[in-house]
Symmetry: C2
Subunit: 599 residues, 2 copies
């Protein structure tokens, strides 16, 4: 995506070190975050990738005169060593050896440690501040980002068009959402809330944009008050004419760059302002403290409101999963036929061809907008890299003798999809079927769970892992993430995973369930569906399936399945067949009938 061909990593790092030295900095904290702390960043903001070459969706570097310490999570341990193999780098696990611990061990007394206050959330800032305190180093905010200073061909900030998101899809007007928010501020005894997260703002104002790939939302900031009014900091030239013409009175436009100065102007000493300490820039907290406001750190007031979908949003999610299921099924039928045939003809299907195929099939569905993330189309050992991405240079062949994995989703007018299937054509590596069966059992264990109110994602993660643990296996990624409604495919705040996540799972939330198993260089397996949380008659909660796509059964060791597991897959397949059949061509109908046959 980035054109860094003109300068080598060595040259870029050398230039950055010179820049740091001129600023009298001994180190610079370089997160992947932009000012919106999201997973997807615009080319303009891909500073971590520019400097280090690491293209994963989460990570951080600390650049010093001696080394570039790189911190990534379990998903990217293989990828980071491929992409950042030079002698400049030391590699660390983002959670097990977090950057602030590294800093506390490597910084010396008196060090000046630079950071960009728009790119570091308060909670991250505080961790670094404690580490620096420990060794008597100083954190020094940088007015301009030092990477930008050494990036001559840095792309311009994004200027994607913003349009209204109609009530028929959103289910609630921005005016009503702002009144709900005002009531929440009243309950929290707060005067204002500042929000900087693009998906929260798109949801609140019922707009959609195009500033980052895959996520139809604009870069902007808001300051909302207890009066039900909001100041929207956004480049007004992004707004399409019809939105500009119809902008309601409760939304006041201000230039994007006026954000921090306006906070200082509008907020008086003693006023109480809510921010999210995990997902806002520390610069906001600093600006609020500057003007004497009381900063109330409360994670995710808007994030949580957005995550609990209303009935229109949920119906939209169900509708788009029907269309997406048609595309998945057409793809699956095509893949099953084409991989062996083309291999036989000496012209095997490639990973990129497969990911293009599902995109082409999705494009034919009504309401399709774009992919919801970069498809992971991974043959054989490539599937062991959880976040593998093809490129013109990296495009393996899908051969019948190897399994294949596709993780792919779409943005539709009515919602967002994300699913993973693992495919086999002829032979499989030793141990594949045993692991596939365990992954299916893991998937089934969570799909069928009932749980009481008050249950949180970290409580139920191990229920999914247990079938793998039984065999001494595990996977080094989360079990499920929140999913937005025509917004981010990775949506906060709910998730299912090992890390502590103090968010009650609530009816109306949408999550993925996606256990996997990976053997480096050999194979990768993952099965993923989206689910919505529903409340059952007795007050317990359960997951209701959204994704409609056959799950391959030929790799299941049927004798290892319980009766409940066998019945579940048959009844899931019956549902898939019944719902999709009317929308398929006869040949695909025949294929689906066979693919969803009882086991």
């Amino acid at each position: 995506m980035l054109d860094t061909a003109r300068r080598s990593t060595a040259e870029i790092i050398a230039a950055l070190r010179e820049e740091l030295s001129e600023r009298a900095l001994d180190a610079f904290i370089l997160p992947r975050f932009d000012a919106h702390q999201g997973e997807y960043v615009a080319p303009h903001d891909q500073r971590l990738a520019y400097v280090t070459g690491f293209t994963g969706s989460a990570g951080m570097a600390i650049v010093t005169a001696k080394t570039v310490a790189l911190f990534v999570d379990g998903r990217y341990q293989v990828q980071v060593r491929n992409e950042c193999a030079g002698p400049f780098f030391s590699h660390h696990h983002l959670f097990n050896e977090p950057p602030e611990s590294w800093l506390a061990q490597n910084a010396q007394k008196g060090w000046q440690v630079g950071y960009d206050a728009m790119h570091l959330p308060p909670n991250w800032f505080d961790r670094f501040a404690r580490a620096c305190d420990k060794v008597e180093a100083q954190l020094v905010a940088q007015i301009s980002n030092p990477v930008d200073a050494v990036w001559p061909d840095q792309p311009a900030p994004p200027m994607g068009r913003i349009s209204a998101f109609p009530l028929q899809f959103s289910g609630r007007s921005s005016k009503d959402k702002l009144l709900d928010l005002a009531a929440a501020l009243e309950r929290e005894n707060a005067d204002f809330i500042v929000d900087t997260q693009p998906d929260n703002i798109a949801w609140l104002l019922n707009v959609r944009g195009a500033d980052v790939a895959f996520n139809p939302m604009p870069h902007s900031f808001v300051l909302a008050g207890r009066d039900g009014k909001v100041v929207w900091f956004v480049a007004s030239q992004k707004l399409d004419d019809s939105l500009l013409d119809s902008l309601p009175d409760h939304i006041e436009l201000q230039p994007f760059d006026a954000f921090l100065p306006t906070l200082e102007k509008r907020i008086s000493a003693g006023q109480r302002v809510l921010i999210d300490p995990d997902f806002s820039p520390v610069a906001v907290r600093q600006a609020l403290e500057e003007c004497g406001a009381t900063v109330l750190c409360k994670p995710g007031l808007l994030t949580l409101a957005k995550a609990v979908k209303n009935s229109v949003e949920l119906q939209g999610m169900r509708n788009c999963h029907l269309d997406d299921g048609v595309a998945w099924t057409e793809f699956h039928a095509w893949l099953s036929e084409t991989v062996p045939a083309r291999a036989k003809a000496g012209n095997p299907v490639s990973e990129r061809e497969a990911e293009d195929k599902i995109l082409e099939l999705r494009r034919a569905r009504p309401g399709f907008i774009s992919e919801s993330f970069n498809s992971i189309s991974a043959a054989a050992g490539n599937a062991a890299m959880c976040h593998y991405a093809t490129s013109p240079e990296r495009n393996a062949l899908i051969l019948p003798e190897n399994p294949y994995l596709l993780d792919s989703g779409g943005q539709y007018e009515t919602g967002t999809t994300d699913a993973t299937r693992s495919f086999s054509f002829a032979t499989r590596p030793e141990g594949y079927d045993r692991a596939y069966t365990a992954v299916f059992k893991a998937f089934h264990a969570l799909m069928t769970l009932r749980f009481p109110k008050g249950t949180q994602g970290h409580h139920i993660d191990a229920i999914c892992r247990r079938p793998l643990w039984d065999l001494g296996l595990d996977y080094d990624h989360g079990t499920g993430h929140g999913v937005g409604h025509q917004l981010s495919v990775h949506e906060q705040p709910q998730r299912i995973g090992k890390p502590y996540n103090p968010v009650d799972l609530k009816p109306g939330m949408v999550l993925s369930i996606e256990p996997g198993y990976y053997e480096a260089e050999n194979f990768g397996i993952r099965i993923e569906n989206l689910v919505e949380i529903v409340e059952e008659e007795d007050g317990f909660l359960a997951f209701r399936n959204l994704t409609l796509a056959p799950i391959e059964t030929r790799m299941l060791l049927i004798e290892d399945l319980t009766e409940l597991e066998r019945q579940w897959i048959n009844s899931y397949h019956a549902e898939v067949h019944k719902k999709l059949c009317p929308h398929l061509e006869p040949a695909t109908q025949r294929w689906l009938k066979e693919a969803t046959a009882d086991i």
Copy 2:
């Protein structure tokens, strides 16, 4: 236990309010904690029970001029309403409506809120301090406890005899443990550690005492240094002669009351001192801050060292479980025969008779010292109170038509036991068998779990609850607690439960596994065994059973069991039979053979 007959609760509360008013206090925080923050407190320290009448093992009150707000956890919601039913009280859930939130809502600006700095750990203190900050109230340390001032017949502090705990049972000398501790202090870059927990100190110094019921450990404090030496603050008249004579050089005796003054004398400004912020008095932190030390808050350095048992301790645990299993089996055989026979004869067995019986049988076992906690001997609906205790006035009959529950354990020379069994004689209430089968499934789910290193108690709690959740049932208590080695039956730091507990489960730890189900006024079910954590060949961890006592199978809905569950109970019973049989009388052998027959 307490003789409060001479004064009514109303009189005591009135006297305390007068005392608070004289001290110009608007509120007083009255935890159940003593200076050692343990579960068992000596009669001298039962201030919460004296003032409120609440006799549960955890809880807190806030006394104001208007109300006594009482905070207890899920186990005690029924009991507290029975014991503290007066108009003086308002009732709250200790976790869902914690006392500091209550204080923030009910205190007024300028309030003086008293506390005893020896009875509140730093983390609790900080929670109250934040709450007081919020409403601009002040926390005011009390030099003398105001409850003591209004308690004319307060029992004297305990003076239990302290003797040496021999190497043959402890497996490691106090000198070696102190050297290990010194090395740990070096790693933590600390000069000293202050510890105030009786079980940690008893373990560290290889002594046992008798200051609180059921827990063979003395009240004392220690200050240990990086030189492998320790100052032991303890009333020297408690030490038995042989211990006094043989006290090694690395242990320096100081009077109990010299604790805080000596800290201030021995520790110089700038020295780094470790304390446990959850389990030490905030007075320690305040004293250390007073003398300019750097206070390092690190939960459980000694607590964790003690929790990971050495091979001698583990073998001792296994040995005492054999003896305890004999007592359980003899009890079970007696109960099965005696309850119907005595009911028929018009002279039914009572709850107290049953708890006396198992104590009598344990007393006949070699190495038995005392019960490890107050037995819960609960017939019919009494078993729905998780921490029910009989008294001369509260002593129900065990009738064949009702189920019965016994939760009971012993302190032995070589270790500590704790088990629960649910019993049935003839008929059961509607729904009992379905719930009993679910509780057994829950128990089985965790007993057979394998899990990777790094797993923590809150990760696996739901694995146990799932079979209950499937039926819309749950239990409002933890799933498992740590168990000491001839020390506290509830031992920190590991536990299995819903609350976040950032302690990796490690080989050598001993835990209970005890799911249950309770229907108020109707019945209660619990099955509890102790387990040790072992590492298996592939590096995964597992639970190895310690408890040897038959589990009743007549209430199991066998058709609802999986093949694995059926096989597991049969193989567990085969182990119980094989290990216990050689130690039983012929009649009990015959009974056991039947009780452990395959299902």
